[in-house]
């Protein structure tokens, strides 16, 4: 099909597109080969090949506990945010109550308020509650940040779902509970899974709130990296960066698989 605005300057467009893809991906990917360098400083192109910086990352106490802490926080955040967010999506899109749009705005507001402001706001009160600098405090904070992603994803699934399926289930003798677990939940499950994955990633990569909410005793990987990046940078930071990227990318691929498996609607 020749649409009139598709015709001209194809080559220019292709070049611009390729350049933009390069701009989007290359700067980040440059880190990956640098993490395998034999040299003691970050350099590009990297010299030789060695896994020493990964070894260092895994043996160094600060880095390795950072990885463990980050993982723990991200998993717990995904659980809390997914449960709360899925319930909230059902409540918001199916429910009828005064102030529904205000609730919707509240649910999405962690996306809008600058993260520094969230960090200092939470920090003040969390100190009083004595949960600042602890696992619990950070999980609660990250869950608030991740909640909007779950709500957006699950709500979309709920809105695209055909409500007649539930009426059909009722007509076929399913009570509301059965209809929910046998019809609704399986259909929105890909959205729920997407929400869980986005929650995990949100927490896994989050740094600003974590800077305030962690302490020297309890640090996540991005915070550890933040501390290092501002001082002397050795290639371990590149290895840490690569680790962060690999986990995120793997989860995004998982998401693609989940979407593929989703029943066509």
């Amino acid at each position: 099909m020749s649409d009139s605005w598709r015709q001209p300057r194809r080559l220019l467009m292709a070049a611009l597109g390729a350049l933009t893809v390069f701009y989007l991906l290359a700067p980040t990917l440059v880190i990956v080969p640098m993490s395998f360098t034999e040299a003691r400083i970050l350099s590009f192109p990297p010299e030789g090949f060695s896994l020493q910086w990964y070894q260092r990352m895994l043996t160094d106490r600060q880095w390795s506990t950072g990885i463990a802490n980050s993982f723990q926080v991200a998993v717990l955040t995904a659980v809390v945010a997914t449960v709360l967010g899925t319930l909230a999506s059902l409540g918001i899109s199916r429910g009828r109550f005064p102030g529904r749009s205000a609730v919707n705005a509240l649910a999405l507001s962690p996306l809008i308020v600058p993260v520094v402001v969230i960090a200092i706001g939470m920090f003040g009160l969390f100190v009083q509650w004595k949960i600042a600098g602890s696992l619990l405090g950070l999980v609660l904070a990250h869950s608030a940040l991740a909640l909007p992603f779950v709500i957006v994803n699950v709500s979309t699934s709920l809105q695209t779902m055909d409500r007649n399926l539930e009426l059909a289930a009722a007509n076929l003798g399913a009570d509301p509970r059965q209809s929910f677990f046998h019809v609704t939940l399986p259909i929105i499950l890909p959205g729920v899974a997407a929400g869980a994955i986005f929650s995990f990633i949100t927490s896994w990569d989050e740094v600003v709130v974590a800077i305030f909410m962690t302490s020297t005793r309890f640090r996540t990987l991005p915070v550890e990296m933040w501390e290092q990046v501002r001082q002397v940078v050795d290639p371990t930071v590149a290895a840490v960066s690569t680790t962060l990227l690999v986990v995120t990318t793997a989860l995004l691929l998982l998401l693609v698989v989940v979407r593929r498996q989703a029943p066509a609607q």
Binding site: M1, S2, D3, S4
Partner: protein
């Protein structure tokens, strides 16, 4: 209804300076394939100046693809498109000077109705005074004079359709294309807009190529109809031609309702012939036999329209009447007419349509009757399915 029922209003003389005998649009051996799928398979068609020609066929038969090639939205795989005698096959759409009404109108949502209508004139850099005047005239033509300031979303479906028509004709295109323009409207509105489109195209003396899958619409509006099937033109002719003299079983089946009696055709010395099969033998009239030109012994079908069949009293058929016995299955009251669904002894379904109580009695389910039709009402076509 046939094409002759068109409301005749002022007829505009043909545009000056154009040859009368040269077709307004000529398609020559037009083909379009998508990979191995053949969408349009060698279309040959002349559209006469001032003619309203409809491409009619089921979806996927290639009619819309043909229209889009004429508009220039797709390049044909092979073949040529001539408009007013000049080859347009490779000319981009914006230099073809062909008006088009799109299926969903494609009115630009960010422009008012008047701006939409002015668009083709602005593209042609006409002076603004002329644009203003012609837009006003075009809006008057479609009876939406006061609606120029409205945006498309503020107009009803029927009004949007009229604006789309005004936009397509305001620049006096050499050819007007319409792609199922009434498909999105309800029945009542569709019928009134059919008359409206006929009126406008008559007033302008426009040459129209119209695409629809609605046979009634085609019969009402067109001078000629091209029946499409599987990328080819199955038959080209007036509505009357197609209904009374279908050239193939497909056309007979597609246009109107038909009873189809399949069997073997045998000539009997030039004066007509017979359709025979296990459960009957029917006379084929001379005219029908002459048109079909079938060799004796070929598989064929006898087509009889439901309104041509009568329920006759028992006993042998009179001279010049073919008869067959049947059982009443269903009696449907359609207001002025009554429609009977019947079954032949071999299980084949027949349908008969009679003016209400034509035979003075009430038939019921299960009644045994005899059906009869005049020999000249049986149409003979070859039966490709059984050869």
């Amino acid at each position: 209804m046939t094409a002759t029922d068109r409301p005749s209003e002022a007829t505009v003389p043909e545009r000056a300076g154009t040859g009368v005998d040269r077709p307004a649009l000529a398609l020559r051996d037009l083909r379009k394939t998508f990979g191995s799928a053949v969408a349009v398979d060698g279309i040959h068609l002349d559209v006469r100046r001032g003619e309203f020609l409809t491409l009619l066929g089921p979806s996927g038969s290639g009619k819309t693809t043909t229209l889009r090639m004429v508009a220039g939205f797709m390049a044909p795989t092979s073949g040529s498109i001539e408009i007013d005698g000049s080859d347009m096959t490779r000319v981009p759409p914006y230099r073809r000077d062909v008006g088009m009404v799109f299926q969903n109108y494609a009115l630009f949502p960010h422009m008012t109705a008047a701006d939409n209508v002015a668009f083709p004139l602005r593209m042609r850099r006409r002076p603004s005074a002329e644009i203003k005047k012609r837009v006003a005239e075009a809006l008057e033509l479609v009876k939406l004079g006061g609606y120029g300031d409205r945006y498309p979303r503020q107009l009803s479906g029927g009004q949007q359709q009229r604006i789309a028509l005004a936009r397509a004709v305001v620049f006096e295109p050499r050819l007007l294309l319409m792609d199922e323009p009434l498909g999105a409207l309800d029945r009542k509105l569709r019928e009134s807009l059919q008359l409206e489109i006929i009126r406008v195209s008559r007033e302008l003396g426009a040459t129209v190529l119209y695409v629809t899958h609605d046979q009634e619409e085609a019969l009402v509006m067109s001078d000629r109809i091209a029946i499409f099937s599987a990328g080819r033109i199955e038959q080209l002719g007036s509505g009357e031609d197609l209904y009374d003299r279908p050239a193939s079983l497909f056309v007979a089946d597609f246009i109107g309702e038909s009873n189809i009696l399949r069997g073997r055709y045998e000539t009997d010395g030039g004066d007509g012939g017979w359709m025979t099969r296990d459960d009957g033998r029917w006379r084929v009239g001379r005219a029908a036999a002459g048109r079909a030109e079938l060799a004796s012994g070929t598989a064929a079908a006898l087509v009889v329209r439901p309104e041509r069949i009568r329920i006759v009293d028992g006993g042998a058929g009179a001279d010049g009447l073919n008869v067959v016995d049947a059982t009443v299955d269903e009696v449907l009251y359609l207001g002025p007419d009554t429609k009977y669904q019947l079954a032949l002894p071999n299980g084949q379904r027949m349908s008969v349509r009679e003016p209400r109580e034509a035979n003075g009695r009430e038939l019921q389910r299960g009644d045994q009757v005899r059906l009869g039709w005049a020999v000249e009402d049986g149409l003979l076509v070859s039966d490709p399915a059984s050869t």
